[in-house]
């Protein structure tokens, strides 16, 4: 299936692209809002600086809002997931599709960098088969959803939101493209989820 990666200039799209291809998708990178709006699944990926990313999104922001309004699935990865929320302490407003802030981690060691165990809170298509698996995190900020949409957490001097799912929006704070077999499973699950969403 065709998956469009929203290209906002700061992301590490090649890795996500390759990982989606391995998961059985036909990924394309797009800067055109129409393309982002119409694809069966859109992915907002990338490490990066949330402020820079929010600025970079530009016209793609409306396309992503349009998808959410129309109930078309969007998968956010790391900063891509953070952009779903209202505002980030790292700088800039998010898309405001989910309620809550993105705050700097309050842990002894920041960034939260490395492999950590996923603790799933409720069963979901996205996280099928990965409860208790180690996945790779690399972030200094994390979403703090106001609604009950958190589907997985990880522990780093306290609980960190690792995945959220709300209607057509799914977000993971970790990097499935860099999380070995468990990450591959999450991307395969995401394709399955997007077909049924």
């Amino acid at each position: 299936m065709r998956v469009v990666l929203a290209d906002y200039g700061a992301g590490n799209l090649r890795s996500v692209c390759s990982a989606l291809a391995r998961a059985g998708a036909e990924p394309v990178i797009a800067v055109d809002p129409e393309e982002v709006l119409s694809a069966p699944l859109a992915v907002v990926a990338g490490v990066g600086h949330a402020g820079a990313a929010a600025v970079g999104l530009g016209p793609l922001a409306d396309a992503l809002r349009g998808r959410a309004a129309a109930g078309r699935p969007v998968l956010g990865i790391c900063v891509g997931m953070q952009l779903f929320f209202e505002r980030s302490e790292e700088g800039g407003a998010g898309l405001g599709l989910l309620r809550g802030p993105v705050r700097r981690l309050r842990a002894r060691t920041v960034p939260h960098m490395g492999w950590n165990t996923l603790d799933t809170l409720q069963p979901s298509t996205l996280l099928a088969g990965v409860d208790g698996a180690d996945v790779y995190f690399a972030h200094s900020y994390a979403a703090e959803p106001e609604d009950e949409i958190t589907t997985a957490v990880a522990d780093h001097d306290g609980s960190i939101v690792a995945a959220v799912e709300s209607g057509p929006l799914a977000g993971v704070q970790f990097h499935p493209e860099r999380s070995g077999a468990a990450g591959a499973r999450v991307l395969e699950n995401a394709l399955r989820w997007s077909r049924s969403a």
């Binding site: 390759s18 780093h156 999380s179």
Partner: protein, 246 residues
């Protein structure tokens, strides 16, 4: 809890992986991406590609190699060596590197770390610090600089580095253990992850680095000769009570 990491370092020169003692006497040990994939298979948690020719010969970094690695690897990797500024870093990150390691350019112009962190987030910015007898050295260890390694580490984090790769030139290649004094002094000073580098010979050395406060330990020669050593090392560390990815 985030797991302690075993990171394999691939020193790259002229597109091949090489290993020397104290940055000298290099020998060819294989193709970078093939070796990287092999390490990923045997359970290495993360990889570092260091282009060690870059700062010696003024060569460009290796975006083509990075693209190939990004397409084939399913674990994170950092690229360093001769990154001179923002555009070099952008090229490598857009080629698919998860992080860039900046060494001399950051020491010469610490504001570069701030620029990189503002653009890519500090989680993508590794400051590589080479030390001899506790003092900063650059140019592959050949040029002593006017700073203690600990002072520079603290300043680098202040400027925006999200991780420190701390290499002791004194212990590098010796297989006699990491420089624990250096590793410990830096790890207790900064609040970002510290990667201990230089001198790994056996699992006890990695355990010592973790005990000194390192979040990760870099290995090179001991696994280049025998990648099967990786699962053995991890099993030994787990047996010693350290929490590593299985």
């Amino acid at each position: 809890m985030v797991k302690k990491r075993l990171i394999a370092c691939l020193d790259v020169a002229g597109g091949r992986v090489v290993k020397g003692v104290r940055f000298e006497r290099l020998r060819d040990v294989g193709d970078p991406v093939e070796l990287a994939e092999r390490y990923s298979e045997v359970g290495v948690d993360e990889l570092v590609f260091l282009d060690i020719t870059a700062s010696v010969e003024g060569r460009e970094p290796l975006p083509a190699l990075v693209e190939r690695a990004a397409e084939r690897l399913t674990i994170p990797f950092t690229v360093g060596g001769g990154i001179a500024g923002l555009e070099d870093a952008r090229t490598l990150l857009q080629a698919g590197a998860d992080k860039v390691a900046v060494n001399r350019a950051a020491f010469d112009d610490p504001a570069l770390l701030t620029t990189l962190a503002a653009e890519f987030g500090s989680q993508a910015v590794v400051c590589a610090i080479d030390s001899r007898a506790g003092r900063v050295v650059t140019h592959g260890g050949r040029v002593p600089r006017e700073s203690s390694a600990v002072d520079w580490a603290a300043a680098a984090v202040e400027r925006g580095a999200g991780e420190l790769l701390v290499t002791s030139i004194d212990t590098d290649g010796t297989r006699a253990g990491y420089d624990l004094e250096l590793t410990g002094a830096i790890a207790t000073t900064v609040a970002v992850p510290v990667i201990a580098s230089g001198g790994a010979g056996e699992s006890r050395h990695l355990a010592d680095a973790f005990a000194a406060g390192a979040e990760a330990a870099l290995v090179a020669s001991i696994v280049h000769e025998r990648p099967e050593r990786v699962p053995e090392l991890k099993a030994e560390l787990r047996q010693a009570g350290w929490n590593l990815r299985s």
